[in-house]
Structures are given as C-alpha cells and as structure tokens.
C-alpha cells in the first residue's frame, strides 16, 4: 500500500491523533510485502475453489464417480499388475510410500461455516507444490492446488463438500502420493492408500 498524506481536518471537534496515526502507518509499513509466489498460490487456490463453488451453485454435476473408478482401474493395471503379484507389490510399496512416525506428514481437516472443509498438511521436507485429490475433484492433481501458509509452512486448501463420506489423498510436486497417517484410512484395495472423511449434516 502506498503511503498517503493523512487528512488533517478535525473530526467535528475531535482533534486528529496524528501521533497514533503515524504509529499505525509505521506498523503497516513494517510488515514485509507478500511473497509473489505466495500471492500466485493464493490466486490459483481461489480460482480452483471458485470452480468447485460454481459447479455446486449452477447445478452442474459434481465430478463423475467414474473418473475416480477409471483412475483406480488405471492404477491397478499400471501399478498392481495382478498377473505379477510379486513385482506389483514391490512397486506399489514404492509408489505409495507410507511415512514413518519420525518423518511423516501430519494432516488435519476442519469443517467450516458455509459447508466447506479445510484440509491442512504439514510436510517433513520442503515441497514446491502440493495438491489435494479425492473423489470430489476426480482425483485431478491440478484441480485443487494447496496454498502454503508463510507463517508455519502448513499447506492448506478449502473445498465445499456435501454431507457424506469422502475419500482423499495428497500429491506432492506432481509425483509423490501421500496420505495423512493420523486420519482414518480406507482399506487399501490395491488402488493405493487414501484417507476418508465424514462430513456431518443432512443429505
């Protein structure tokens, strides 16, 4: 915000508090400007959230259930390779690393007013980008980019979700699939580990 000269007019008999005003403006000025990368992440997150919000508003269908099924089937064929159980098990283990207690991610979800759920994720090591994927966005790692909070490094995203059960996971730097080890997990049916979330409320 560019500095501007303060109005000097009296407030109908109240003298303007110039010292206090100067101190407030100095406090504003002492804050560092926002990181352009952070601003860009916020923009992308807003545009992604708006996509979810608008699809709910205008009645257009939510991501199709068969998007997730198609993605799961692809995972089975590419990763699990049922005809080579030994090989597919080893590759699945590498493709979906389960973090150890000492260095794993830590996540949290919180229902907020207006029907949105906030997903938070703390990573043990730096990442350039993190996406939230789930049955609510067709498992598309470009649909819901997460925003990194400058204050504590937590990655965060908000998604409007209707009441019911939802399944989700995280994708780090476009290639690493992660789940929250502390959140309820869906039994791995061979498609990779995912977390589950129940949103309360009338359906």
């Amino acid at each position: 915000m560019a500095d501007r000269d303060l109005p000097v007019e009296p407030l109908d008999g109240f003298a303007p508090d110039v010292d206090l005003a100067a101190r407030l403006r100095a406090s504003y000025g002492a804050l560092p400007p926002a990181d352009p990368v952070q601003v860009e992440r916020v923009t992308r997150a807003v545009l992604a959230s708006a996509m979810h919000a608008s699809s709910r508003r205008d009645g257009s269908p939510r991501p199709r259930w068969w998007w997730g099924a198609a993605a799961a089937a692809l995972l089975v064929v590419v990763v699990m390779r049922p005809w080579r159980p030994g090989l597919s098990h080893a590759e699945a283990h590498r493709a979906f690393p389960v973090p150890s207690a000492s260095d794993g991610p830590v996540g949290a979800t919180r229902e907020e007013r207006g029907g949105a759920v906030r997903f938070d994720l703390v990573l043990p090591s730096p990442a350039a980008e993190v996406s939230l994927v789930g049955d609510f966005n067709g498992w598309d790692d470009e649909a819901t980019p997460m925003v990194r909070r400058a204050s504590d490094g937590t990655w965060s995203a908000r998604v409007p979700l209707p009441p019911g059960r939802h399944v989700y996971a995280f994708v780090v730097d476009g290639k690493q699939w992660l789940i929250d080890p502390l959140a309820p997990q869906v039994p791995d049916a061979g498609f990779g580990p995912t977390n589950a979330l129940i949103v309360e409320g009338p359906r």
């Binding site: 915000m1 407030l24 403006r25 002492a30 804050l31 926002a34």
Partner: protein
C-alpha cells in the same frame, strides 16, 4: 490497466486479469486483516476467503465503485465474522464469564520484522468495531463517507468509534510505556 478493465477481463474468464488484481491488493488486504485479527494464519485465511468471494461476486461489481473499497467491504465483513467466531470458540471453554472478562488478551502470533508489538497488543484489546474504525481511518486513510459506505454504519457512529478507540489505545500504550520505564 485500470481495475475496471481488469474486472471486465476477469468476467470474460481471463485468470491472469484476476491474478493482477490479487497482486495489486493482496498486501493491503493482508496488512489490514493482520492488524484486525492479530494472527498471521487467520489473516491469510480471511484474505483468501475475501478474494474468493470477490471472484464469485465479480459479476455484481459496479464499475462506478472503487474496486479497493468494494473488496475491503467484503474483507471487513469477514474479519468481523472471524472475530465473532473466535470469541464464540473461547466462550465454549470458559464457564466463568467474569474470569473471561478479566483474563488478559491472549498474545497473538507476531509476524517477523514487526517492531510495534505493543501497538498490536493494544489493538487486540480494543472493541472490534473501534479497532476496525481506527484502522480504516488512520491506517487506510479513508474519509468518513467512504468508511460509512464500507461498513454500513453512520458517520457519527464511526467518528465516535474512532474517538473512543484512540482514547483506549492511548491509555493502553501509555500504560505499556509506564510499565517499561
């Protein structure tokens, strides 16, 4: 490119135009939200929510309005909601209302590089409407007419909030200086 031109492009579906608006106003929004809420994470959340609501409501934006004023109208409402919600969460865990009133304000998390911690602590102890009025008047440099359009309050009420807010701030900051000497 003016704000109005960027709004037109945003309505036409140009994400870069909206990105430019965000770049232009993110800092101003965040500084206000941080001084209102005193918590960096809360301020970031509220600013993002304000930008989302602005984007979703961009079709209703009137070009005769100043975009910054319109955006700040959304932001001030969200800051108020955040403070109301925060006070409700506090009350759920405190049974004794008297203890709540006499308890010192919790210390917010400070952004690095902020020198005036005493000012932020004092702001946190103001009535939220007084805090909002003082910030809009003295930090944002708005006229009372602009503040009235933004907050929906009358100019007389706003002037009184600014006066009382300043008096309380001076008392709190003066007490801090006495304690430090």
């Amino acid at each position: 490119m003016t704000d109005a031109e960027l709004v037109v492009r945003t309505r036409a579906g140009d994400p870069d135009a909206f990105g430019t608006l965000v770049s232009r106003y993110y800092d101003a929004c965040w500084r206000f939200a941080y001084h209102m809420l005193g918590e960096r994470a809360d301020a970031e959340d509220v600013v993002q929510e304000a930008l989302l609501r602005a984007y979703l409501a961009i079709g209703r934006y009137d070009e005769r309005d100043q975009f910054r004023g319109w955006l700040f109208r959304i932001l001030t409402n969200l800051c108020r909601n955040a403070l109301t919600s925060r006070s409700r969460r506090t009350r759920r865990f405190v049974q004794d209302e008297l203890a709540l009133q006499s308890a010192p304000a919790p210390l917010p998390s400070w952004a690095p590089g902020v020198e005036d911690a005493a000012l932020l602590r004092a702001l946190a102890q103001l009535d939220p409407l007084q805090r909002e009025a003082v910030l809009l008047k003295y930090a944002e440099g708005l006229e009372y007419g602009e503040m009235a359009a933004m907050t929906g309050a009358g100019e007389s009420a706003l002037k009184m909030r600014v006066k009382r807010g300043c008096e309380r701030l001076r008392a709190l900051l003066g007490r801090t200086l006495e304690d430090a000497s």
